[in-house]
């Protein structure tokens, strides 16, 4: 009894809340990754809010003193600059039976790590994660994308909706023939 009481006192209430929040966020991302790798794309796209902005800028090799101009910004060119409707369109395309870039389907594995809640707002969280997206296609095509995602998560029905996602790749010249998969 006395031992248990001392343990209770040792657990900081704030730390416990952080741990629960971390668990909620990591559980959400694990589910998201599973939906993508199982090609359950309609369920995946339902994780985004109707007002989501999904953005993958172009990255450029710049000198250190101009590194603030490394990434393009919304309104400039990008690889992805999506609304919910456009994301749903991409999902419809990949599932329609004639999207040859994904037929035979790519084999993908999303590894999501370094889950870091960087801010908490009244209605949600800002979360940074690292990802590794591994893809193989056909007999011997192999692609590895590594980068970070900067999300805004909005609390929704006991879980989250993604209301903003910025995907930053660790590549300038894209080392793959296309981007027919989701990040």
């Amino acid at each position: 009894m006395t031992i248990d009481q001392s343990l209770d006192q040792a657990i900081d209430a704030g730390l416990l809340a952080d741990a629960v929040r971390q668990f909620e966020v990591e559980r959400f991302y694990t589910t998201e990754a599973a939906l993508l790798d199982q090609r359950r794309f309609p369920e995946w796209v339902a994780l985004f809010s109707d007002d989501v902005h999904y953005f993958m800028p172009i990255r450029r090799t710049r000198l250190l003193r101009q590194i603030d101009q490394e990434f393009t910004r919304p309104g400039e060119m990008a690889f992805f600059d999506e609304t919910k409707e456009l994301l749903q369109g991409r999902v419809a395309k990949v599932m329609c039976g004639t999207a040859w870039a994904e037929d035979p389907p790519s084999r993908t594995r999303h590894i999501i790590t370094n889950v870091q809640v960087v801010a908490e707002h009244a209605d949600g969280l800002d979360v940074h994660t690292n990802f590794l997206l591994y893809r193989t296609r056909l007999k011997s095509e192999e692609t590895t994308w590594i980068g970070s995602r900067r999300d805004s998560l909005r609390r929704h029905e006991g879980s989250f909706l993604i209301s903003k996602r910025e995907v930053l790749l660790e590549q300038t010249v894209l080392l793959s023939q296309n981007l027919s998969n989701f990040f």
Binding site: L63, M77, F80, K93, G97, W100, V173, L174, Q177, L179
Partner: protein, 457 residues
């Protein structure tokens, strides 16, 4: 075995509409292309709007040569090979930016914006006050056409305006005649494991969208190219993997009705695609109103004004009209090509117009584009199959509507040589015919004479 000029002879047959497939993967042919084509031809480097201020630079590719395009203090532009005169190290490692000078990080040799060697560590003690080199090697010629910067490594190349000719000029005017155009920040760059010529062939190909890009049309992400008569192409036994009859959405298919306009010209430049009437406004996505501007009518002439074609300024500069883009197919190896996309908007475009242009460009082309997602694997697989001992012996067929394209060559007028026709492979075949002439490494005057379009393609 070295490819001699006479061996370059039998690779392309204009009469049969056939190519030798080995041209898509043979390493010796690739090396020969680098010297006979990419070290001689005028090549697009960048647009002036990308290097507005003095010291602004953009690294462009001329074959495997990397060239710094630099805005000078006096406002002029120089093209400097990005290789130090000492050990050859790249003197600039950034792909774009602004610099006051270029200092090599190997030993510190320092070049000013014009490429002149201005600083050498130990100049007095080790080089006895004698500058060991003049500076960075410059391109042989650099010139601009209405903001588009081109260069050639060949001092004997004809002037840019002469090289472009009527077809090259109107190709750039498809963008330039819209007014004061500028490049949207962000050049999409990606690598496709294919030969560069497959990527060039494809830009003229109005036969592939309805199959390759069927998914984009079926899901309504982009409208299919319409047929003026409302007809759709007959499926003629084409079956899906499930054995179902395939349904084609639209397609410009009206026999010899002339829904397509092809331009073919000296040095291998070509334009191919539907007429403005045939393409319509592409579901409201395309604004043709700029074609009514007096200067557009004057610059393009009556035939090019009617063209919604995809243009290629030989060898690799593709101008595509829907979203005012320019794409380069940069050869990196026999089976490796870098694709670069430049996107243009009018300098005075409203935020809404700018957003629509950027969104259209991102969602049609580029690696995540609804169209271009599907292209790379076609080209990569087509390239790969040219290496099989038996597969490479099968001729590449470019025979569609062969012999039916009457070339109207009005030498005195403004119109480039043109063909009115339905879907065809004339522009691809013309590109390869000219390519073979380039590969011969003949003189510029001979090259020009031998690439005057024939009366019939």
């Amino acid at each position: 075995m070295t490819i001699e000029a006479d061996q370059a002879e039998g690779l392309v047959s204009l009469e049969r509409g056939e190519l030798d497939r080995t041209i898509f993967s043979d390493p010796e042919i690739f090396e020969r292309e680098l010297t006979t084509i990419f070290a001689r031809s005028w090549l697009f480097l960048c647009h002036e709007s990308q290097i507005k201020k003095k010291g602004d630079f953009f690294e462009a590719a001329m074959g495997r040569d990397n060239v710094l395009v630099v805005r000078q203090r006096d406002g002029s532009i120089k093209g400097l090979l990005n290789t130090c005169a000492h050990r050859g190290n790249a003197v600039c490692r950034a792909e774009e930016g602004n610099a006051k000078n270029f200092m090599c990080t190997y030993h510190g040799w320092t070049y000013d914006l014009s490429g002149e060697l201005v600083g050498v560590p130990g100049l007095e003690e080790l080089y006895h006050n004698q500058m060991p080199a003049a500076g960075l090697k410059q391109v042989a010629q650099l010139d601009t056409y209405r903001g588009f910067v081109f260069a050639t490594m060949d001092a004997h190349a004809p002037p840019l305006a002469e090289f472009l000719g009527r077809t090259g000029r109107v190709s750039l005017d498809f963008i330039a005649a819209q007014g004061d155009m500028e490049v949207v920040p962000g050049i999409q760059k990606f690598i496709v494991p294919c030969n560069w010529k497959f990527a060039v062939d494809n830009l003229f190909d109005w036969y592939h969208p309805q199959i390759t890009h069927l998914s984009a049309f079926q899901t309504g992400l982009l409208p299919a190219t319409p047929d003026a008569t409302g007809a759709t192409m007959k499926t003629a036994g084409v079956l899906s993997p499930d054995g179902d009859d395939m349904q084609f959405p639209g397609g410009v298919v009206s026999g010899d009705a002339g829904d397509q306009l092809v331009f073919v010209d000296v040095y291998g430049h070509a334009i191919s695609g539907p007429t403005v009437e045939a393409i319509g406004d592409f579901g409201g996505m395309i604004d043709h109103s700029w074609r009514n501007r007096p200067e557009a009518i004057e610059q393009l002439g009556s035939m090019a004004l009617r063209s919604f074609g995809h243009a290629n300024i030989f060898p690799t500069c593709w101008i595509t009209p829907p979203f005012n883009q320019l794409s380069l197919r940069i050869p990196r190896g026999p089976m490796e090509t870098e694709i670069w996309w430049f996107t243009f908007v009018h300098k005075d475009a409203s935020p809404e117009q700018r957003a629509a242009a950027v969104s259209g460009a991102i969602h049609a082309f580029g690696p995540a584009g609804f169209l271009e997602q599907e292209d790379g694997e076609n080209w990569a697989q087509s390239t790969l199959q040219t290496r099989g001992a038996s597969s490479k012996l099968i001729p590449q067929v470019l025979s569609m509507n062969l012999g039916r394209g009457r070339v109207v060559n009005d030498q005195d007028g403004i119109d480039p040589p043109y063909i009115e026709c339905s879907i065809n492979e004339h522009a691809q075949l013309w590109t390869f015919v000219a390519w073979q002439e380039w590969l011969r490494d003949s003189s510029w005057s001979e090259l020009r004479d031998r690439t005057v379009p024939p009366e019939v393609l």
